[in-house]
Subunit: 188 residues, 2 copies
């Protein structure tokens, strides 16, 4: 998606450890015109029937909200802590975050994912694919049908997306970064 | 807002410690038709010029996204941890969460709040007002103008909202719960 690629080139900042900062327009401050266009693009990329959107807190929620409003379907976000406001039977999975260098659990209340659901996973970044694998595990536990996954930015060189595609998952990115150095970002 | 009150009466669940569970439609699974109408209602309640929306991760993000899309202004969410993807100079404030019984810090990158900004704070719940006070502190540090705060649900009996109003802040709720027991929820 050209508009997103141009924004990344203009405002993205690269830090050591393959970290791409997009806080000025994507995941701390959010540019709503871009967000609206990204939601429309996801709708175009996934014309299949979708009954529910699933993401993981916190930085995926803005994207999920915009796409859910565009598709007019409910969305659910997996929580990272089993807080007092998460009750009843739950699905859970383990996720390792390379960004934060720690293992965490994600949870979704069983009431919010049903075997009849056709689910699209959304997230902001796809690097090694750990968060998406965690969400896939929750969806498989529920018996729902996984339609696919859409991410704002895929860091292709970290192989998570290609490894998921090799297993048959329909994973699409709005911007696919093939190479990232101190001074350049390349898209495919 | 009648639609939200009816949804709370129909699907809300009360737990000990004044916890109201609204996970089925508001803060784990999100009903987008209701969300869209809440965003329109915020626009009606705050007709003043607003240049930026500020909230705190994670459960305020869906509401903030919908309102930002409706008002067509950027939004910023304060983060609860100073992760590797939050760089540069930051504003920070302390917040005590009664729900989770712990103190935490919230952060916003200085680039995302400017003295020229006219800011509306959004959050899902207002109980004792701690999260909103933390966000007010960040906004004051930036020199931006605070227009007011809108929340989805205020638990009036926990006094955070009235205490903020007594200090002159323009705080509005889409549903104001005056009393909550095991079996009944009353609105004003």
């Amino acid at each position: 998606m050209k508009e997103l690629e141009e924004k990344i080139l203009k405002e993205g900042k690269i830090l050591p450890g393959n970290v791409l900062l997009v806080g000025s327009f994507l995941n701390q401050q959010v540019d709503v015109a871009l967000l609206r266009n990204m939601a429309k693009e996801v709708k175009r990329l996934f014309p299949q029937e979708i009954t529910k959107i699933v993401t993981v807190e916190a930085s995926g929620i803005a994207f999920a909200t915009a796409v859910a409003l565009e598709l007019d379907v409910p969305f659910v976000f997996a929580k990272k802590s089993k807080a007092s406001n998460l009750s009843g039977a739950i699905y859970s999975a383990e996720v390792y975050s390379f960004t934060h260098e720690k293992q965490y659990k994600i949870f979704i209340n069983e009431d919010y994912l049903k075997p009849t659901d056709k689910v699209l996973i959304l997230d902001d970044f796809l690097a090694k694919g750990e968060a998406i694998r965690g969400l896939i595990a929750l969806i498989e536990q529920s018996g729902a049908t996984l339609v696919g996954a859409a991410v704002e930015i895929e860091k292709v060189f970290q192989n998570g997306g290609n490894s998921l595609r090799a297993e048959g998952y329909d994973v699409k990115a709005l911007a696919s970064i093939t190479d990232m150095t101190d001074s350049t970002i390349k898209f495919n």
